[in-house]
């Protein structure tokens, strides 16, 4: 982004640590994401990417360190309060209201949202955003895996967040679904939200990210523009080397 004055910081972590009874998963993650930025977080399996998101959203309390959402310190707040402050996420393994229909899932999300304009239109908008309007009356358990991942995105946006955390949104999608997802992100989501996307698919990462953070073993190994990361020898060795050798 070539903006004259830099955007304010939308999400920041300072020395964030998380351990599960002895197992250190995050060992001091500090990063700052600017409003409007698309930040990709990449790293091998087990690096702590999902845990990073879980700590940001308050599912797991941080062991130490702080999380700021805009100017507000949200460290230690319960998950629902963090969500109400404008942080929303999708799940790596889709985690939806399985006994409700697609439309009802969106209704629940819109109702939870901070915008009080809870009209039927808001619900429809969130579904048409990801192209699921045609499936509105189907039960979630009856729709395809790829559609479930899209519904994840739909309900994460329907509650009216500022910052959107996407945990491997294209995992399990077909190549054509993945390409459509890249378009969705670039054409519709990018302009509305600050986005953190955890991804394995380098095609998605290189086509969407403004900045990439490489997370390995609970630490940020490198951070920079896609080109910098692509040519960073440390990253190639530690991440690309081990994961794609």
């Amino acid at each position: 982004m070539s903006v004259a004055s830099p955007q304010p910081i939308a999400l920041e972590t300072r020395d964030l640590c998380k351990h599960f009874s002895g197992l250190e998963v995050l060992k001091g993650v500090s990063t700052a994401i600017r409003a409007g930025e698309v930040r990709a977080v990449i790293g091998p399996n087990g690096a702590g990417k999902t845990t990073f998101i879980n700590v940001l959203t308050g599912i797991h309390p941080a062991s130490s360190g702080r999380v700021f959402l805009g100017d507000a310190d949200v460290t230690g707040l319960p998950a629902y309060r963090i969500a109400r402050k404008g942080l929303s996420r999708t799940f790596q393994i889709s985690n939806l209201f399985a006994d409700l229909t697609v439309l009802e899932n969106a209704m629940v999300a819109v109702h939870a949202g901070r915008c009080f304009r809870q009209s039927r239109e808001t619900v429809d908008e969130s579904l048409s955003l990801v192209g699921l309007s045609a499936l509105a009356d189907r039960l979630v358990s009856e729709i395809s895996h790829g559609d479930q991942k899209l519904l994840e995105v739909a309900i994460a946006t329907a509650c009216g967040p500022d910052v959107l955390l996407l945990d491997e949104p294209t995992a399990g999608m077909s190549p054509s679904e993945t390409n459509r997802f890249i378009d969705l992100l670039n054409e519709r989501l990018r302009s509305r939200y600050t986005i953190v996307i955890v991804e394995h698919d380098m095609n998605v990462v290189m086509n969407t990210a403004d900045v990439i953070s490489v997370l390995t073993l609970g630490r940020i190994l490198a951070e920079g523009k896609p080109d910098e990361i692509r040519t960073n020898p440390g990253v190639q060795e530690a991440y690309l080397g081990s994961a794609y050798a």
Partner: protein, 290 residues
């Protein structure tokens, strides 16, 4: 003098009851930890252990020890049958299903016992008459024998789980169900073994209790909540946590019984568990989660 006598006596009682709870809770904790099944019918295994012992002794005229052994084995056999008919079919279902099915089993076993043996409580003479004098208190010898036996059974179970191949499989199964299956262990056989061991433990606890508290078709209900709470407070799936908490609970109840009526002491000991559940809902011995 009188009071300290009562205190010591009741504390001993508490330890004995604690060990009995430990046997019951260990069996329950096994089926819960290894099969992820809340076996409500476990309480009726305990009840049957006592009732069958009483019947074998009073109707068939068997000696206490042979009656108790036969009762325990019968309960183990029943456990096997029940596993085949019901438990094995619900083990991979959602927890609610297992809960419903075993609650049904509890009702069937309890009321069949009522139908067969009647509602009159049966008392059994302890096989050991002697009393032993400890700390100036004359304590019934049979209860000391029960305590010793219970400790021995707990140790044997521990060794079984620790050092046999079967024990290793049993401990591996819940964590790595798929892995255990791949490595050629039939989870069905592990479950069967788990249920049999669990029901034997409950059965022997009931058999040993018969001379102390008598036998009655509803005696299972009174230990059900206690045993379940013990395994939760001890940390779900933590076998030895359950044993420790069971013994502690018995001691608390015993000591309290020196100050109030037995039923008040029982209530108090259970009420004391409530704040524990509130403050440490995942168990007092669960590893501290950050």
């Amino acid at each position: 003098m009188d009071f300290s006598y009562a205190l010591i006596f009741q504390t001993f009682n508490g330890v004995v009851w604690g060990l009995i709870f430990a046997l019951i809770a260990l069996g329950l904790s096994l089926t819960f930890g290894l099969m992820n099944l809340m076996n409500v019918a476990h309480a009726s295994f305990y009840m049957l252990g006592a009732v069958l012992t009483a019947q074998f002794v009073t109707r068939l005229g068997l000696g206490f020890w042979s009656g108790a052994a036969l009762a325990t084995i019968s309960v183990g056999g029943l456990g096997m049958v029940v596993n085949r008919l019901v438990l094995a079919r619900v083990v991979d279902s959602p927890p609610v299903i297992g809960l419903l099915a075993t609650a049904g089993l509890l009702l069937v076993i309890e009321s069949s016992t009522l139908a067969t043996f009647g509602a009159v409580p049966v008392s059994v003479d302890p096989p050991v008459d002697a009393t032993f004098s400890i700390f100036g208190v004359d304590y019934p010898g049979y209860r000391l024998v029960v305590a010793g036996l219970a400790v021995a059974i707990l140790i044997v179970t521990f060794l079984l789980l620790r050092f046999t191949r079967f024990g290793l499989w049993m401990r591996a199964a819940p964590q790595q169900r798929e892995l255990a299956l791949i490595s050629g262990v039939s989870s069905g056989r592990i479950n069967t073994a788990t249920v049999i061991i669990g029901s034997l433990l409950a059965g022997v606890a009931g058999a040993l209790v018969a001379p102390i508290a008598g036998a009655h078709f509803q005696m299972g209900s009174s230990v059900l909540a206690v045993a379940f709470t013990v395994i939760v407070v001890g940390g779900a799936g933590n076998l030895w946590g359950a044993v420790v908490i069971a013994i502690l609970l018995g001691v608390v109840r015993g000591v309290a019984a020196a100050f109030m009526t037995p039923s008040e002491a029982e209530i108090l000991s259970l009420v004391l568990l409530l704040p524990v559940l509130l403050l440490r809902p995942d168990g007092i011995l669960a590893k501290a989660r950050s």
